[in-house]
């Protein structure tokens, strides 16, 4: 036991130091700082907007006032039902973040342990896990997500479930390659030499030290998931009316493009700002972690 607390303390300190250094670097990296600023702003909006705007008010039909162009009363105009686009767009922040965060939570909950196991165990386990991931990756992600939601029923939560499933391999891949390199570190060897159980070494020492690239992957996957979910809702395979989801708003805007372009522009802007925030943050963190690699948007040239 004494030995265990010894390694554990060392590992904890090592991790804390790394995270501290990462946090300090974010301030000096424009992309990461702007991205983080946007994300924080959106989270604040998501928390407080439902207190200021009620769901009922945002769904209030006012036929007299349909297709009203932006004005002081309706800063973003109104839609084909006369609903206030400003309220609906703001409430969309919450839905968008919910979709992005929960589908990535599902993907990482399965992908990270699987990839960690593959990288740490190696051999046949590695082959079995990674070949399965290859098969899952042999489909365009949105195609599988679409098929799943169409079969099990088009709802927002099913869309989240489907997207979570299709992003598992991306997390498994990143975690695996990181786990392989962390496993060769001396403190992991030390822990094994001291006779720690494999599950302890994997979950307490290997995975926590593989966290940084997983954060990058998560940030970029959130932006992919938000775009994909908007696509699913646009096709009628995600959120259903009258949910104020941006994808759904764009679907409705499609029929009235020339008549009321603001119906498309504001939800589009909402998507752009959210996705940009997570993309910039992920990209910035990656630059900090690996200043030399020529990497772009979740792809490395290795």
């Amino acid at each position: 036991m004494a030995a265990e607390t010894g390694t554990a303390r060392f590992v904890d300190e090592y991790q804390r130091e790394r995270l501290y250094r990462l946090a300090r670097s974010i301030r000096h990296n424009t992309k990461a700082a702007v991205g983080l600023g946007l994300i924080i702003g959106l989270v604040v909006l998501a928390i407080f907007s439902p207190m200021l705007i009620s769901q009922e008010a945002a769904n209030q039909v006012d036929i007299q006032n349909r297709f009203a162009s932006p004005s002081a009363e309706h800063p973003f105009g109104t839609d084909n039902f006369g609903r206030d686009m400003f309220s609906r767009t703001l409430l969309g922040v919450r839905i968008s973040l919910y979709v992005g965060l929960s589908s990535v939570a599902i993907a990482s909950a399965f992908g990270v342990p699987l990839g960690g196991l593959a990288g740490y165990a190696g051999g046949a386990v590695d082959d079995a896990v990674m070949r399965t991931m290859d098969v899952l990756m042999s489909f365009p992600p949105i195609l599988v997500a679409m098929t799943i939601t169409a079969v099990i029923g088009p709802t927002l939560n099913n869309a989240i479930l489907a997207l979570g499933l299709v992003y598992i391999p991306y997390f498994a891949r990143v975690t695996r390659s990181e786990a392989i390199s962390v496993s060769q570190e001396e403190f992991v060897e030390a822990a094994r030499a001291l006779g720690e159980r494999d599950s302890y070494v994997l979950f307490r020492e290997v995975l926590p030290n593989a966290a940084a690239p997983i954060i990058v992957q998560a940030s970029i996957s959130i932006s992919f998931a938000i775009l994909a979910a908007a696509g699913l809702s646009f096709l009628g395979l995600g959120a259903q009316p009258p949910t104020p989801s941006w994808g759904l708003m764009l679907q409705q805007a499609k029929q009235y493009l020339t008549q009321a372009p603001w119906m498309a522009i504001f939800p589009g802007l909402g998507i752009a700002v959210t996705v940009l925030g997570f993309n910039l943050f992920g990209d910035g963190i990656r630059d900090i972690l690996d200043p030399d690699a020529s990497t772009e948007f979740g792809v490395t040239d290795e």
Partner: protein, 319 residues
């Protein structure tokens, strides 16, 4: 390992992945909850009607028997018959395939033609306003869904400016000019994010190449900057660009489904989407599998191209 052996290995690997993909495709439609017979008849069907239909469709057999039946047919080019249209699935797919191929190919071409020069300018004139503008354009490109770009193109170019038709398809073998007029808007929308990714990757990998020793050597030999960039650095910078194209193909093929829907473009994506809405199980399986096969084959082509350009990939063995 020679290139041929590498290609052969990759091909064997592809066959294995394809087998897995066929299992997943079948499972998506047949193992997930939902009775196909009930879906076809709707709530109006009586218990007997459902039972008769189940019998006809062979739904009462164990799922692995049904998979073996299906895959045996697939291997002989028989994908079954569409429940909705009654036509063979293979025929329906063959009819729609050229339109989608034309769309995807045009999108890819537009993206490459626009993005590579943009990336070169951004790299050569690093940290100038041109570079900054390119970065902003690229980040905007990846931050909006392709269907948003599609709607914007429809609004600006088709509706306001009336330059191109907002929807439809003309076969390039019948009327080449008409075909391009119809494909440009959907292809532009589809290629937007790809363009952004290629631009960024061209920029960053070219910057890296321009810093390396052999470029200094070329400068000392007195080669012009233009020649150095175009003949030497770009060649090596192209590898990461190729990777990004390979990686983005999945998004390109996935994007086809939404874009074809938006532009009422009669391709494979629209066929697959309608099959999903109609619960047309054989057609869903057939079109999903076809898209996966095309996707995997394209990835293989990218990998082989990579190996041809950079023989170190083969020497590395794994991959």
């Amino acid at each position: 390992m020679s290139l041929t052996r590498y290609a052969a290995r990759r091909l064997v690997f592809l066959v294995g992945t394809l087998f897995g993909a066929s299992v997943i495709t079948f499972a998506l439609v047949n193992v997930l909850p939902g009775d196909v017979a009930v879906m076809i008849l709707g709530t109006s069907g009586s218990q007997e009607q459902v039972e008769v239909l189940r019998q006809q469709l062979g739904l009462n057999q164990p799922v692995y028997i049904r998979y073996i039946d299906w895959i045996a047919g697939v291997l002989q080019g028989d994908l079954g018959r569409s429940l909705r249209f009654g036509d063979p699935v293979a025929t329906l797919i063959a009819q729609r395939f050229p339109a989608s191929a034309f769309l995807a190919f045009t999108a890819l071409t537009i993206a490459v033609i626009v993005a590579i020069p943009m990336g070169i300018v951004a790299a050569v004139e690093q940290n100038t306003w041109k570079d900054f503008l390119t970065s902003v354009a690229a980040f905007t490109g990846i931050s909006l869904p392709n269907f948003f770009w599609g709607m914007l193109l429809i609004l600006l170019i088709a509706r306001y400016a009336s330059l191109l038709p907002p929807s439809g398809y003309v076969s390039p073998t019948e009327d080449l000019a008409g075909a391009f007029a119809h494909v440009l808007l959907p292809a532009g929308a589809l290629g937007f994010s790809l363009m952004a990714h290629i631009t960024r990757m061209t920029r960053s990998s070219l910057i890296e190449e321009l810093r390396s020793g052999y470029i200094d050597l070329a400068r000392m030999k007195g080669l012009t900057s233009r020649r150095i960039v175009l003949r030497h650095a770009l060649r090596n910078a192209f590898l990461p660009v190729l990777t990004v194209i390979g990686f983005q193909l999945g998004f390109l093929f996935g994007g086809i489904i939404i874009i074809e829907q938006l532009f009422a473009y009669p391709g494979l994506g629209r066929l697959a989407f309608n099959a999903l809405l109609n619960r047309d199980a054989p057609l869903i399986q057939g079109s999903v599998l076809t898209i996966a096969v095309v996707f995997m084959t394209s990835n293989l082509v990218v990998d082989l191209l990579y190996a041809v350009i950079d023989p170190r990939v083969i020497a590395g063995g794994e991959g």
